[in-house]
Each structure stands twice: as structure tokens, then as C-alpha cells.
């Protein structure tokens, strides 16, 4: 198993090195004598693929399509308003390269806001995805996290942030804003993934203590997800494939990713998936949703974040569809809201109810249909630090406010 896990990385590194001209095939093989035969065969297959004759569109299509395309293009857009330009500038600051600067700016803005207008900070805190001040709201949360003093404080803060995302999702669902609803749900999943992975890096005893502390709050959030599912309108028609998948086409700015099923990507390509490290987290999720912890770890190692897994398990309970099918469905449809709509979960009696405490399984354990084995390197994220705990209880919906 370990050998297999290694060879996918070795293969990838060899392919990259050869493509960049840094190494020859012979050098790669010489560096890995233990995998020589297999590597030689796989690199040979890769080389065969790369040297295959290239398919290209018909010449007539090539010439006609550009003209046709340009004819179909709509007129130039209306010029952006000052607010839109300001919003775009802020969002560009929030991209990874500018995150540090944005955080610093957020702190400065907070100071200015506290000196001259407490209303700005208040308004930012009430912002929801899609609002001009929402990035500021998130930046403030990041600053608080970076100032946290202990893993416990950080965890409680992250739970509070997750609760805030759910509250925002509820508000957006009420307003019928599907796109930003998906953003809020995706960010909820990200926050929970990050929280659980951070917890997973603590010693086992600390993990157990924290999970005991946070368990009731997460159960409460589980209730909120159920309420959200119940609020999602049912599909008007069973088939509207083109419009359904329009949303996921946008990769969006990096601060509000809706697309990826994987919330946390490894910082280091060579990071391996150490599933066992996260076993207490997986055990807790498994107990909550009466699932198989090994299967949960397997999903984690396949690149799904724990938040994503929790949402899939919760949805699976309600819909009777396997989590693996739900992962695929979510990938196809672009967001959990779309999945809930497509499955017609609205108004379904909550017969299963949110599982409260980890209990004995009285349902069949969920197994993936396609157990394809080993994982890629989904390394744990950096610990986000800690901060003073917010009110981690059930958040109250906030009114959407635009400047």
C-alpha cells in the first residue's frame, strides 16, 4: 500500500521533470531502481500518449467559427459603476497573493472603523455572500482566528464562523439568491473541513475533549442544515440540465470557491494522506451519521474535505442516496443547494432527525460503491491559530445589508 502510494508521486515527479527537461527517462529510472520496471512501462505509455497524432477541428470549422462567434457576441457591457469597481478592487485584494495585504488592510479598516464609524464593522459583520462588505467580514474572521491563543479557542471560533455561514445561507435561501446560497454552503463545508482537520492534528486526547465540547454545537448546526434542506424549493421540472450546470462553470474568485469538492489542498505536493491521524475525527463523524469510519477516511484520502463528507452523509440520511453518488451529483450540479433541489428534499419529514450523540448504529453502514483504494496527498492545512470564542450557539439570521 505504501509502495503504491509512493509510486504515483514518483511517477508524477518524473513526468514533470522530464517535461521540464530537467531529467531524462534514464535518470528517473536510475533514481528509483525499486520501481524501475513499472516506471519504465508507465512513462512509456505516457510518452506514447504524448506523441500520438493530434486531433484538430476541421479547417472549415476553424475559419467559420470565429466569424460566427464574433457575430453572436453581445454588445459591450455597460461600464462598471464606482461601487462595482471598488468591489472588484477589494476582491482582487482578497485573492491568495494579496491575502496578507488584505488582512493588514482589514485590521487598518477595523481600527479606522472603530475610531470613526463603528457602523462599518457592524455592517461588515452583517454582510452575506454577494455583499460588498462580505470580504471584509471574512477578513475580520481571519484576523480573529490568527489572534487566537489556543487550539480550543480557534476551534470554537471556527465553529462560530461555520454557524455564521449557515445563518447567511438561511438568509440567502429566503431571498431566493441561489448563487450566493451555494457560496455560503460551500464555505460552511470549507470551514468545517478546516476545523476538523485542525482538530485531527492534535493529540488523540485533545481531539476527544474538543469533539466532546463541540459536538452539541455541531449537532445544532446539523439541525440548521435540515431546516435549510426543508426550505429549498423543489425542482420545477425534472430536466433542465443546461441551466442547472451554468453556475459551476465559474471558478469564481479564490475567496469564495463554490466548485471544488476538495476544500483543502495540500500546501506541499509531496504531502501524503495520513488517514490514521484523522481517525478520531472520522470516528466522531461516523458515530454522528452512523457510517463506517474507514469509509470516511477513504473519502478524505480521495480528496473530500470533512465538511463536504458531513454534508454528504447528512444528505444521504435524508435522501437515501449513497454519499458517493452525492459527491458525483454535487460535482455535476455545482452545489449542495442544487443537489437538495434535484433530490426533491423539500418538506420531507425529518424522520431520521439529526443524530444527536454518537450512538449505536441501527442503520446499515454506508459503504462506497467503488472502493478504489489509495489516496492522493491531501495534506492537512496549516493550523489557523486561535481567538476569543464567539457565541458558538445557533446563530440568528441577519438581514442582508448593502452599503
Amino acid at each position: 500500500m505504501k509502495m503504491k502510494a509512493d509510486i504515483d508521486l514518483i511517477l508524477a515527479n518524473c513526468l514533470d521533470s522530464i517535461a521540464r527537461g530537467e531529467k531524462t527517462l534514464a535518470e528517473c529510472l536510475a533514481e528509483h531502481p525499486e520501481h524501475r520496471d513499472e516506471l519504465q512501462a508507465l512513462l512509456g505509455t505516457a510518452s506514447l500518449l504524448q506523441s500520438a497524432p493530434q486531433v484538430a477541428p476541421r479547417l472549415a470549422f476553424r475559419h467559420a467559427a470565429r466569424a460566427r462567434l464574433l457575430n453572436q457576441l453581445k454588445a459591450s457591457p455597460k461600464p462598471a459603476t464606482a461601487w462595482e469597481r471598488l468591489g472588484a478592487a477589494w476582491r482582487s485584494l482578497m485573492r491568495p497573493a494579496g491575502t496578507r495585504l488584505a488582512l493588514a488592510l482589514a485590521v487598518i479598516l477595523l481600527c479606522v472603523a472603530s475610531l470613526f464609524s463603528a457602523g462599518v464593522a457592524y455592517a461588515a459583520d452583517r454582510a452575506v455572500p454577494g455583499d460588498f462588505l462580505y470580504p471584509l467580514d471574512r477578513a475580520v474572521e481571519d484576523v480573529r482566528l490568527s489572534l487566537a491563543l489556543s487550539p480550543t479557542q480557534a476551534a470554537r471560533l471556527q465553529v462560530a464562523n461555520a454557524g455564521e455561514r449557515l445563518s447567511e445561507a438561511a438568509q440567502l435561501a429566503s431571498a431566493g439568491d441561489e448563487e450566493d446560497f451555494e457560496t455560503a454552503i460551500a464555505e460552511y463545508g470549507q470551514t468545517i473541513s478546516q476545523l476538523l482537520q485542525n482538530i485531527g492534528q492534535l493529540p488523540s486526547e485533545d481531539q476527544a475533549k474538543l469533539m466532546a465540547l463541540l459536538g452539541p454545537i455541531l449537532d445544532d448546526q446539523n439541525d440548521q442544515i435540515q431546516e435549510l434542506i426543508d426550505e429549498i424549493p423543489t425542482e420545477e421540472t425534472s430536466e433542465s440540465p443546461v441551466t442547472e450546470t451554468e453556475e459551476p462553470e465559474e471558478p469564481e474568485e479564490t475567496s469564495t470557491p463554490v466548485e471544488p469538492a476538495v476544500e483543502v489542498t495540500p500546501k506541499n505536493e509531496s504531502a501524503r494522506c495520513d488517514g490514521e491521524q484523522y481517525r478520531p475525527v472520522a470516528d466522531n463523524l461516523a458515530a454522528t451519521y452512523q457510517a463506517d469510519p474507514d469509509t470516511i477516511l477513504d473519502w478524505f484520502c480521495k480528496g473530500y474535505g470533512f465538511g463536504e463528507i458531513a454534508l454528504a452523509l447528512k444528505t444521504s440520511e435524508d435522501a437515501g442516496v449513497s454519499p458517493e453518488e452525492l459527491f458525483n451529483l454535487k460535482q455535476e450540479l455545482g452545489g449542495w443547494g442544487q443537489v437538495w433541489k434535484a433530490l426533491g428534499l423539500k418538506g420531507k419529514p425529518d424522520d431520521a432527525g439529526p443524530p444527536g450523540n454518537p450512538g449505536k448504529p441501527d442503520k446499515p453502514t454506508q459503504k462506497p460503491k467503488d472502493d478504489k483504494g489509495p489516496s492522493g496527498g491531501n495534506g492537512p492545512p496549516d493550523n489557523q491559530g486561535n481567538g476569543p470564542p464567539e457565541n458558538p450557539g445557533k446563530p440568528t439570521p441577519k438581514p442582508k445589508k448593502n452599503p
Binding site: 479547417l59 454588445a75 469564481e252 480521495k302
Partner: protein
Amino acid sequence: MALGQTDLTEGELIARAIQGDKEAFGDLYELYLDQIYRYAYFRVGDNNTAEDLTETAFLKAWERLQVKPEKLSIYNFRAWIYRIAHNLVIDHYRMKKQHLHLDQVEPLKDTDPAPETVALNSQQGEQIAQAIAQLDPLMQEVIVCRFINQLSHAETAEIIGRNTGYVRVLQYRALQQLRAILEADRK
């Protein structure tokens, strides 16, 4: 990278396209046409459908650029346009109620073979294309992105919505399977 007649860089073209410059978008179309077409072709196995999907992908991209330009990540245009094509392929199979089971589709038998496509008609090309069509859809995507269109692990990961570690694993398994398929064909 200077492109075509305009001598503008890719980034400049994207910036101009976001501002509504159709010609700049046309140049981007030229730049990515072959890649997107190849991607579509290997996923649907039909020249006409691949052309339709390619054209639709660019139209949708233009519409998106005009509606919410501030939300686009300019530096990642390539992954974005692939992502649009990826969704269109999914729509295509959903509409045909085949849900991406390419093995149920007669692979790469074009009813209207075009001279330019026919590179694949060489024995080796066709053999490879049919071998790829026997992989599961996610593996097909990884193989097409990585080896047919020469995308990086990171770009491929972004397109298929997984992490790079998972792409590496899929790449390894897909190459193993392809090797077995090709060897079996030879016998």
C-alpha cells in the same frame, strides 16, 4: 507570450475581453480552440458534437465575462474555459441520459470524418483514442488533460474539481489501465 496578429499577451487579451473587446476574445478563441476541441472530442467521441460543444463553451465564456467580470480569475482563464467545457460535456451526457458512461458510446467513429481530424485515423491514434474511451470518465479527463493537452497536475485538478494528490493517483491508475488495454490490443 505574444499572440497572433495583435502582439498582446494572453493576460492583456483577457483583460480586454473582460472590457468587452470582441476581437480580443476572438484571439483568445484562436488560442484555446484546439485544446478545447481536443478535450471535447476525446470526451464525446464525435467530431460534430465536439465542434458544437467547443463553440458553445466559448459563447458561454463570453456571456460570463460580460455578466460578472469581477468574479473571474483572470490568471486562470485556461482552467476556467476547460471547466465550462467539462460542464457542457456533462450536460451532453445528461441530456442523452448516459451519464458519462462513454463505454456505452461507440467511441470515435465519426460519421463525417474531416481531413484535419483524421490524424486520429492513423492506426496508433485510433488505438489510443479507443483505449482512452475504455477508462472511466474521471480517468479519461485526467489522461486527456495531462497527456493529450499537456496540462499540469494543478490545472487538471482544478478542472476536475479534486486535489492534485488525487490527480496523481488517477494518473497512475489510468496509465496502468491504458497500458494493459494497449497490450491486450496488441495480442
